[in-house]
Each structure stands twice: as C-alpha cells, then as structure tokens.
Subunit: 339 residues, 2 copies
Amino acid sequence: MLHVAEAARVSVATVSAVLNGTATVSPELTQRIEQAIRDIGYKRNAIARSLKMGTTRTIGLTVPHITNPFFTDVVSVIQQAFDRAGYAVMLCCTDEDLNTQDEQIRLLLDRMVDGLIVARVGDGGILKGIVEDANVPVVLLDRLCEGVDTDAVVLDNQRAVFDAVTYLIHLGHRRIGYITGASDISPMHDRMIGYREALQAAGLPVAEELVRSGNFHEIDGYNATMQLLSLHDRPSAIFSANNPMVIGTMKAIRDIGLSCPEDISVACFDDFPWSDVFVPQLTTVAQPVQAIGEQAANLLLERLAGNRDAPPRKLILKGRLMIRNSCRPLGALAQTISA
Amino acid sequence: MLHVAEAARVSVATVSAVLNGTATVSPELTQRIEQAIRDIGYKRNAIARSLKMGTTRTIGLTVPHITNPFFTDVVSVIQQAFDRAGYAVMLCCTDEDLNTQDEQIRLLLDRMVDGLIVARVGDGGILKGIVEDANVPVVLLDRLCEGVDTDAVVLDNQRAVFDAVTYLIHLGHRRIGYITGASDISPMHDRMIGYREALQAAGLPVAEELVRSGNFHEIDGYNATMQLLSLHDRPSAIFSANNPMVIGTMKAIRDIGLSCPEDISVACFDDFPWSDVFVPQLTTVAQPVQAIGEQAANLLLERLAGNRDAPPRKLILKGRLMIRNSCRPLGALAQTISA
DNA sequence: AACGCTAATCTAAACGTTTCGAATGTGTCA
DNA sequence: TGACACATTCGAAACGTTTAGATTAGCGTT
C-alpha cells in the first residue's frame, strides 16, 4: 500500500479511502490510485487488515468425520453459504475425540475466527467456556450440548426414529434390533428414546439384548450386527442409528449368509446418494441437509452481522422416512400383501 | 501480552522470549510470567504474529466438489496431515467453475495462506501466474495443468483405464460405451487415451457413437447412458470415467428396464465405501486416496519447511482395479464359465 | 478583504506481535 | 582496579493496515 501511495503521489490514508470507499476522493486521485494499483499488482494484506479491524472474515467449522455422508453434505452447503457471504471457512475433523476437538477449537480461536460452527464431540470440553465468554458466536450443529446455551440447529431425532421404528412395527416386526453410537451425544440419546417409545406405544417390550452400542464406525456396526444375529431368538429387523455403521451391518448380514430383506430387514439413519440405485434399496431417515446447512450458516451470519445479544435460537428440523425396499412385511401382513 | 507483561512486572520482549523460547530467561521471571499467563488466561494472537512473521501456518485447499467421494476422502486425509503438523486448512469448493476458482484462490492469497493444494478446474486461470511468482508454493492434486510447472500428485489415469477396459475386453465385450467429463481436465484426457488404446491394442474399432461427454454430475451420467442405451446396436458394457456420473448410469439402466450385469455390464472410476455391500457390487478403479492425500501434504510441507527451489516433483501413483460382479462374461467365455 | 463552510487530503497513532541492538548487572582475569 | 566477557532484560522499531483528527484549499458571503 505504501508503494501504491508513492507511485500515485498520495498518502496511504487516501489509498485506503478509495479501497474501502470510506471517504470521498477526487476523481483524479482515484484514477491515479487505481492505475498505480494495477501497475504494481497490489493486493491488500488481509492479515494486517484483520489485526486492525479485529475481524478475519473467517469462520471455523468442526465435524467428527467429514467422510460421514451426512457431514459431507452439510459441510458442502455451509461452505457454499459462507463463500457467497465472502467468508472463508477453516475445516477441522475431530475424529470423535474430545481432546482433538479442544485442540482444534483453540487453534481456530488463536487464528481469530469470527465465529464457530461445531458438531460437538464428548461433553463439549472448552466449548462451554467459549460460549460463556461470548467473544465469538458459536452455533451448534446436529448435536446439542448440555450446559451450552447458544444457537443450534438439530433434527427432531426422537420423532424421526419413532416414525421409522413404528413403520417397522406396522410391517409386522416384533423384535427389532437397534444399533446406536455413544449415548452422550444428544442425537444418539434422542434416537434411542424414539426407539423405546415406538415399542412402548405399540405395547411391545424393550428387550435390552436387542440394543447394541458402537463407536460410529463400520466395524462397530459389523460387530454389533454379528452379536444381534447370533442371538438365539434373533431380530427380524435392524435399525442402525448411524450411517457408516449400517455398512457394517450389511456386510455382517452377507458374511453370515443371510440376505436383506428376505431374512432380515434393515433401515438406518441418514440418506446417501446411492441409496436408491443398488439392491436392496435401503429405507432410511433422510435429514434435510440443505436446510440444516443453510440454517446453521444463517444463524451465524446474523450474529456476525451484529445481532449479538438476541436470545439463543434452537432450530429443530424434521427428518423424512424414505421408504424403499430393504424392509419386508412379516406374518399375516406378508400373506395379505403377497396374496 | 501487554497485560501479562505488566502483571509479571517485565517487558513484553521477555514475555515473547519465554513464549517462544527464543532467549534464555531466568527461572524466576519464567515462573512469574507463566503464572501471569495462567492468571489472565492469555492467548497469543496468531494474527498479529502472522503479520510480523509473514507466515500464517494455514494452507488453502480447493477441490471441485467435496461431495465426490474421491475428494471427500482426499480432503479428509490432507486435513489430518496438516492438523498433525499444526497447520489449519481453509477449504474451498470451486464447483467445477473457473471464475469461482480464481476468486477463491484470490481469497486464500489475500489471507496469506502459506501454501496451496489445488485440484484445478478449467485451464487453471490465475494459477499459472501464482506459480511463476513463486511466493506461495502450490501443489496440484489429481489434475495436472498445462503450462503450470509445480509439484503434483496424480494417478496414472491412462494405465488405470487401459487395464479396466482391457478387463472388459477379456470378458468378451466388443462394444464398450465410455462416459467422460470435460476433456480439458487432464485425468479425463488421459483416461480417454487409455480407453482408446485398450481398444486398439485388442484390434477393436473406436466407435465415436459410444463415447459420451458430460459435466461430472449424476444427471449427465443419466443422459449419457440413456443415449448409449438407445443406440440401435447398443453397447454390452459401459465404463464411466467419473464416480457421481455412474449413479446416473445405474438409474438410467433401471429406468429403461434393463439390469446390471445381466443385460449390461458397468464399471467406473473411483471406489466408494458401499461398493461391495450392495448388488450389483460395482467393479471400480480404486485410487490410493490415502497415499494421494499424504503425498500431496508431504510435498507441500517440505516446501513450507524451506525447500523452495528444488525442481518440481510429479508423483504418479497407480490405480487398482477392484473386480466385483457388475461385469459379466460374454459369448464363448460365458459358456465355458457357466459350464 | 476577511470570514466561515465544505470538501479533499494528510499525519500519526493504533492493532499485538517479534526481534535487533542497547543497557544493565555479575563475575573473571590481568 | 579496570577491562572484558557473558547472561539477562529491556526499549523501540517494524509488519501493513484503518481511522480520528488535523490541515489545507477552494469558494461564496458579507
């Protein structure tokens, strides 16, 4: 900027003025300065600007795993939204580990991100303190966090699973296996409640041996399914509360020599692009990823636009049951349908 | 830092010294300063540091679409690698659009990223100038760029497709449809060559009506497949040079009332997690995503570590044909096998 | 001709670090 | 006792911006 000022024979203040349009500058000087900028190929240093202004026009986004198709899609939407608004986004993957998350949030804060969107892990760690300090706005994504009162957009997980399990019950299933992730994550907790309530609403018992817990990965789904399938009175249907784990479920079914949906019905959380192309076409609970991403971005952008002390808003969106053909009717119902 | 200095009754220079270990500081002062840091909850301002040091410990990463599973995986690996090295990564999606890419690269450069990893789009745009200026190191990912001589890691695309198509030919296929993306992208160009060479090596003609070009999206694959399948002498196999497009291919096959592999064989580029779970299990060319991501990260990290003027290195990795059951043997071969 | 008003431009401080060189103190050696 | 080396600490400039306030010039009024 100094060089531009010299070349245009003006002060740096004037250059800054035309760059930002913050003051009226005569046409001649404007012209000279613009020419000098082109000649020199000057690019304004956003770091120096950030230091002075106290804002970086950068936000931090952390998710447990970007390879989980739900997060892939949401990250993509969020990235686009902030790109349109002229913000950069720093992406971090916490690998479902609290220490990693704390470290990455610190990294982002050190770099003075203007805001944070977090799909939290564990108990939230340092998140609570950050929200309380209220220096940088935080919006929670997908997962609420106990004791952390801030903007959030989540799914009505309980209702979504309730609907899905009720659907299985309507098909005639009575023993429905359930595979979940760690229950300290709010969606996992809520989904579990949805499962139990659906059974209870139908007057069915909640058999603890049908509930298995894993750590979100394919292998965990595989192991859980193996256990369910080796029960002496094995379930006729399995609902997997997490998408990567359902891959493990399908592999376990195949490896054990069964097939879906003939021998066992399967449904799961989170839709994915291939779900209606291959056989079986998996029945899933689809989250409105586009809306989730956009709403999260909007909540944060509004805070960034200055609306700091409005009360926190929690947006709760509805899932949608995508009925395909991985679940088959059972018993009397099956008779009527095939007849 | 000023507050810390005051609280510990020392100068800011001394605080900086203990923070960075750049000078010997007496045990008492060190102690006092550390205490003050804890008391105040001081966090060093990375922006100010960056301004002074001229380095942000942040890199920029641009890909066409993060939802393409190949890029999802590679981004994930790269993110992890830089995280380990204490770098933040700014992620941008260019949506396969050159203007968007230019804009985003400018955005990243404004923010003084220390380096860039780019899966380029179009003809590279401003990339060439940036590499020539040599202020920030650039490594090309997945796609080389004409006239841009810099570090790169790509696949041996030609060989990979050659192998895949040769496999189809060995199965007895003679008319093999080929669906590609825009040919100004080096991998698409090279894959096409691999296709032609495989046919020529087998003494088969290259029928232009069997080659269709799309814009990387599912819908393009759908349309291209529809065209191929409505040919009066339709192909017995289709190879899709891009993963999202193969979804369109599968949908088109289904919509037209055919089935894979009975009526038509399908193979495609890029593996995905579900590929061996559902039916048909798709035969794919798997890229070594882990290695690609790590090598790209390493190339850049080495440059960042100071090795600036070594000649550019191009790493060419090998793909792997994952033979599953979406391609069936034809003619005489089918007889022998089923006999 | 002196005055005030407005518009255009500039000067200089500030943002929070790092770092060079100067200053201070302490012990060693001739 | 003075000179010197060494260890420790500090003052102040610098990084590239923004911006409040000062300065200057131009112009219409009286």
